[in-house]
């Protein structure tokens, strides 16, 4: 990532550079000291013995973890696609001309955005079977992720729709399109395109959230890591480290894709499509505007 010139400080002179070097060395020594202390204590417990790491080179173990990652990705993609469809439907309902539809979807969206995902998943996994609803762990997790994420995406879509220039809608009406036609042919396609970077970074959130399938239990990556740790108790810490590294690699690449798409969009629309704060932040994206209704 290139550093933008900052007005907060001048280019460093020789003394400044020296100070930076000294400070970096000091901080580096401090950090290395703490890390070394940790390493020494870990080593004292034999955590670095190659036998503890060797298990991760066994083809069976690699396959076991790879299947876990595959399950994670599958669940995230399924839930992502379903959330797209339901999220768009919810967004349109919340922008509907009918007040009852607006209020009902508004309440639905606010409720499910405001409730912890874990609570929702526990309710689904431990609660629904009591009412005779039995699904596989996979679909329980997809259901939970979809209900939560479609509520989040609905607000993202609504923001996207409302961010379009009102001239688009007026032009659509002027050439005689109905409300539904103008939405389908003019507004939604543009709004969705604008939200693509946001949607990709929302996929990172989904991938991370799918780790909550752990409690169902669903055999995703984290559960698999835990399973390995139970099978090879001497490698439990190592299993979590490997799992974390896999998540970071996948999500980091996805994040890069989102940034790249964002750059392309900025190029295309001349302005930045702003990703506020980070993916997590989107869960609470604010939409400060009244419903979108034809003005007369």
């Amino acid at each position: 990532m290139s550093q933008q010139p900052s007005v907060l400080y001048d280019a460093l002179g020789p003394r400044g550079q020296r100070r930076v070097v000294i400070g970096s060395v000091l901080a580096g020594v401090l950090i290395i000291g703490v890390v070394a202390l940790g390493i020494v204590r870990l080593a004292a417990k034999g955590q670095f013995q190659t036998t503890r790491w060797e298990v991760f080179t066994q083809p069976a173990v690699v396959r076991f973890l790879a299947n876990g990652l595959l399950a994670t990705v599958r669940v995230a993609l399924t839930a992502g696609l379903l959330s797209l469809v339901f999220g768009l439907a919810l967004a349109l309902a919340r922008l509907s001309v009918r007040r009852a539809a607006r209020y009902a979807t508004g309440a639905w969206i606010e409720f499910f955005r405001g409730v912890p995902l874990l609570l929702l998943i526990l309710f689904i996994a431990h609660g629904l079977p009591q009412y005779g609803m039995k699904l596989s762990a996979y679909w329980f997790l997809v259901l939970g992720l979809t209900i939560y994420n479609s509520a989040v995406l609905a607000e993202i879509f609504r923001a996207g729709i409302l961010s379009l220039d009102r001239g688009q809608r007026e032009a659509a009406y002027a050439i005689g399109l109905t409300y539904a036609q103008s939405m389908r042919l003019v507004i939604v396609p543009q709004a969705v395109r604008r939200m693509v970077p946001t949607l990709v970074s929302q996929l990172v959130t989904l991938l991370k959230d799918s780790s909550l399938g752990f409690v169902i239990p669903f055999e995703e990556l984290l559960r698999r890591g835990r399973g390995l740790g139970e099978f090879y108790p001497q490698s439990i810490l190592q299993a979590y480290v490997v799992v974390a590294a896999i998540y970071i690699a996948v999500n980091f690449s996805l994040g890069r894709v989102a940034v790249w798409l964002e750059g392309r969009q900025a190029h295309r629309y001349g302005g930045r499509v702003h990703l506020p704060g980070g993916p997590e932040d989107l869960a609470m994206i604010e939409v400060r505007s009244a419903a979108l209704v034809p003005s007369d």
């Binding site: 550093q3 900052s6 007005v7 907060l8 400080y9 460093l12 400044g16 930076v20 400070g23 970096s24 901080a27 580096g28 940790g38 204590r41 870990l42 417990k45 955590q47 409720f111 405001g114 409730v115 912890p116 995902l117 874990l118 609570l119 526990l122 309710f123 431990h126 609660g127 629904l128 009591q130 009412y131 991938l207 991370k208 959230d209 780790s211 909550l212 752990f214 409690v215 984290l222 835990r226 439990i236 810490l237 979590y240 480290v241 974390a244 998540y247 970071i248 999500n251 980091f252 994040g255 506020p276 704060g277 980070g278 993916p279 997590e280 932040d281 869960a283 609470m284 994206i285 604010e286």
Partner: protein, 214 residues
């Protein structure tokens, strides 16, 4: 609903646990966020790199994985923290990365002329940050910080997985005993909304209160 009103004390203890965990981790996340954000805009390249490394690592790992790594990993080093303290540290450190990013974008949002003016009257980097840029940045980042606070409140529920006794675990335990999922979980959901909706309003109020009149 009878089962809910019959066990209000279970909900209450879980509720206060969640409140305490939320407030303590939020405090940690603010501290971590300020430090990391300062590193990310600092003149020292190694500090910038370290800040970026922290943010990218933490943001791309599921909170639950971090919680497991910390909780089960540290016992291997011979350090053992209580469930609550582990939760405060991990949840605080995790959301600190988001706070840092919010603050950084807030600093970017402060008009360039402010920093230029501060520098031209001879303030150093840290002085211009402390007296001119950060006070204004804090005002613009109230809404994103509010969002992070609400996300954090919801994420404290993960403490349930490492056997913390918060609202979510209270609901799950009641459900195990009484098997009436709809009222029991709905009760917990309402309790969470009692936390999140007023904090959303409070942050909105703070936002209006500190807004810079232009």
């Amino acid at each position: 609903m009878g089962v809910v009103f019959g066990h209000l004390s279970d909900y209450a203890s879980g509720f206060w646990y969640t409140v305490a965990l939320t407030l303590a981790s939020f405090l940690v996340s603010l501290l971590v966020g300020i430090v990391i954000a300062t590193m990310r805009i600092s003149p020292a390249a190694p500090a910038r790199a370290a800040g970026l490394f922290y943010v990218e690592t933490v943001r791309n790992t599921p909170l639950l994985v971090l919680l497991f790594l910390f909780f089960f990993g540290l016992t291997k080093v011979g350090l053992a923290y209580s469930i609550f303290v582990s939760g405060v540290i991990v949840i605080g450190a995790y959301h600190g990365a988001f706070v840092a990013e919010a603050l950084r974008s807030g600093v970017g949002a402060v008009s360039k002329g402010q920093a230029e003016a501060a520098r031209s009257i001879g303030l150093t980097f840290s002085q211009s940050l402390r007296y001119v840029v950060l006070p204004q940045a804090f005002r613009t980042v109230v809404p994103p910080i509010g969002n992070i606070f609400i996300a954090l409140t919801k994420n404290t529920s993960l403490i349930t997985v490492i056997a913390g006794v918060d609202l979510t675990s209270a609901a799950d335990r009641l459900n195990t005993t009484y098997a009436q999922a709809i009222p029991i979980f709905f009760g917990a959901a309402v309790a969470y909304l009692i936390l999140t909706i007023p904090s959303g309003l409070a942050f909105g109020w703070i936002e209006r209160k500190v807004a810079i009149a232009r």
